[in-house]
């Protein structure tokens, strides 16, 4: 009788990488719905086009690297990257913009470094930053939210993507842009003079942020990641904002709530910095990692050149992750203290 020989453990938990990725994809759904509600079908088209391209590029890279296609495509990681990038890009982006972004993400940031698990930088954010640096105009033209401008329909959205020359969307400065450019108005006046502002932050933005928060909390509940990095980031951002908030003068950097619900804060906190590959490994490390991202986000938003900062902050901290790991190795069972102290 031929018996199978396998080493222990013989039992395996229910989690699989594919399921982790599927969960992440599922968790983006509420956010995408809200974005679509407020900004039209642009984001949806972004996501779909990005996904197609991502799978194609992934397959190409795998073929070039002589890896089995099905096995690796089945881990959904390329799709996750595509969806995240699609959400991050402005709605109604032209097709080539998305293509360049996805190429940078999948080829440059992921496969050139050895594929999933070996990429030191978050692929979606690399793609985003490449685009932001290269095409500042396209990257900073956000559609006007529902109630402020005309919403294009689905056909318009497709047109915007594939024949960008024939499409002219109503675009507007985002609240973060306005805040950055503002140098004479009190906060309250700024709020009143610009229709983009909603209750706490930008119209649409605030709800999208809340939707991403909900998706993120669900992921937390599903134990896809631990709370450390996102919570640390949000707390650090809120604290820094509170520290610099002076109640609404023209020099104000915006209220903590405004920062929490603006731009990519929530999206970044739960979907970007939780990318395990490029973050710190230990829980303590993730606390530090998240907190520093929060701090950097505020600093870049208020003092940097770009209105939103999540992508830059994440990439900078990706650099620092191995260093953080070095100093946050947990105390193992039976060891009195961290090894550095013993040496």
């Amino acid at each position: 009788m031929a018996l199978m020989r396998i080493t222990s453990p013989h039992a395996h938990g229910p989690m699989s990488t594919a399921r982790v990725m599927q969960n992440v994809l599922l968790a983006t759904v509420p956010g995408v719905i809200v974005l679509t509600h407020f900004f039209g079908f642009g984001t949806l088209v972004n996501i779909i086009w990005a996904s197609i391209l991502a799978l194609a590029f992934e397959a190409l890279a795998l073929r070039l690297r002589k890896r089995p296609l099905g096995f690796y495509l089945g881990d959904y990681s390329a799709l996750v990257t595509a969806v995240l990038l699609g959400i991050a890009l402005p709605p109604y982006s032209p097709w080539w913009l998305i293509a360049v972004g996805i190429a940078s993400s999948i080829l440059l940031a992921k496969h050139l470094y050895g594929g999933l698990g070996y990429n030191p930088f978050n692929p979606a954010m690399v793609g985003y930053v490449v685009l932001l640096i290269s095409f500042p105009v396209q990257m900073s033209s956000w559609a006007a939210p529902r109630g402020v401008g005309e919403l294009p329909g689905l056909l318009d959205a497709l047109q915007a993507c594939f024949t960008p020359g024939n499409f002219d969307a109503v675009t507007m400065a985002t609240p973060l842009d306005l805040l950055k450019q503002n140098n004479s108005l009190l906060m309250d006046d700024l709020w009143q003079q610009n229709a983009q502002f909603g209750r706490w932050a930008g119209i649409g933005w605030e709800w999208a942020s809340l939707a991403f928060l909900a998706g993120g909390l669900w992921l937390l509940y599903q134990r896809v990641f631990t709370w450390h990095a996102p919570i640390a980031m949000l707390v650090a951002l809120a604290l820094t904002a509170a520290l610099f908030y002076d109640g609404g003068s023209s020099a104000s950097g915006g209220s903590p709530l405004f920062h929490l619900l603006s731009g990519a804060t929530m999206f970044g906190a739960f979907f970007i910095i939780t990318d395990p590959v490029s973050s710190a490994v230990s829980t303590r490390g993730r606390l530090v990692f998240g907190a520093l991202i929060g701090l950097l986000v505020y600093l870049i938003r208020v003092y940097g050149n770009y209105p939103d900062a999540v992508a830059f902050a994440v990439l900078i901290m990706n650099f620092a992750a191995p260093f953080i790991d070095q100093y946050t190795q947990p105390r193992s069972y039976g060891h009195a203290a961290r090894r550095e102290d013993n040496e």
């Binding site: 080539w96 360049v100 440059l108 490449v130 640096i133 290269s134 095409f135 500042p136 396209q138």
Partner: protein, 237 residues
């Protein structure tokens, strides 16, 4: 080093020991000024000229200068050469001179030049040294121009823009627009693009080398196999 094979020198300078993508010397100008072909050509020419001049001078005085002071002397020679080139450029290609800016005087500190002076010219006769300077300069320049071309193409969708800066007004219409209506891809022209494209060029070179190696190995394979089989009957360790 009595016998210097010019073939060997050429192969070294252009491929096997290319200063830019194998030795990774002189990266600072390489990365900084290769935003367009014209800049790259300008700097490539300047560097090549300096290399030849300095190699010549170093080779001539190599038996006079004592070891202790040789480095300062080399640097002086290189600096003088650079100054000459700088003045020449100022006279004949003023715009390019302005674009290249600080990177012209910085050629002095380009490690390729001092490296060749120290590693080759001060140990070899006049002719080989001149040739070495030329070929090393060419190797460096080729990469510079290649990088400039790639970045210009990726960044602007065109090639050979602004050639009049270097070659006079007649060259103004040398510009070839490869892609119409190209959306400027700033990243390629910005410093990150330089790193990325340099990396890609190095990667391509390594691939080619690996292929060549593989082919050589496959040629060698058969005889080795036979001899191995013979050896099997010998010691078994």
């Amino acid at each position: 080093m009595a016998e210097v094979s010019y073939r060997e020198l050429s192969l070294n300078g252009l491929w096997k020991n290319n200063p830019a993508i194998v030795q990774l010397l002189g990266l600072c100008p390489l990365l900084a000024v290769t935003g367009s072909v014209v800049n790259a050509i300008g700097l490539a020419l300047a560097t090549c000229l300096v290399l030849v001049t300095s190699n010549t001078a170093v080779s001539l005085i190599r038996n006079i200068v004592s070891d202790a002071v040789r480095l300062p002397v080399f640097v002086m020679i290189i600096a003088s050469a650079v100054t000459c080139i700088e003045l020449l450029m100022q006279a004949f290609a003023y715009e390019l001179y302005q674009i290249l800016g600080i990177f012209l005087p910085l050629i002095t500190t380009n490690c390729v030049i001092l490296g060749r002076a120290e590693a080759f010219a001060c140990k070899n006769g006049l002719l080989p040294s001149i040739y070495d300077g030329l070929i090393m300069g060419a190797g460096f320049g080729v990469i510079l121009i290649l990088l400039g071309g790639l970045r210009e193409l990726a960044g602007t969708g065109a090639l050979f823009a602004d050639m009049q800066l270097l070659f006079g007004p007649g060259a103004a219409d040398w510009k070839i627009v490869i892609v119409d209506n190209y959306q400027a891809f700033l990243l390629a022209i910005l410093p990150p693009g330089a790193f990325i494209f340099t990396g890609l060029i190095i990667a391509v070179k390594n691939i080619i080398d690996a292929r060549i190696q593989a082919r050589l190995d496959s040629l060698k394979e058969r005889p080795v196999k036979g001899s191995k089989r013979v050896r099997v009957t010998g010691t078994i360790s």
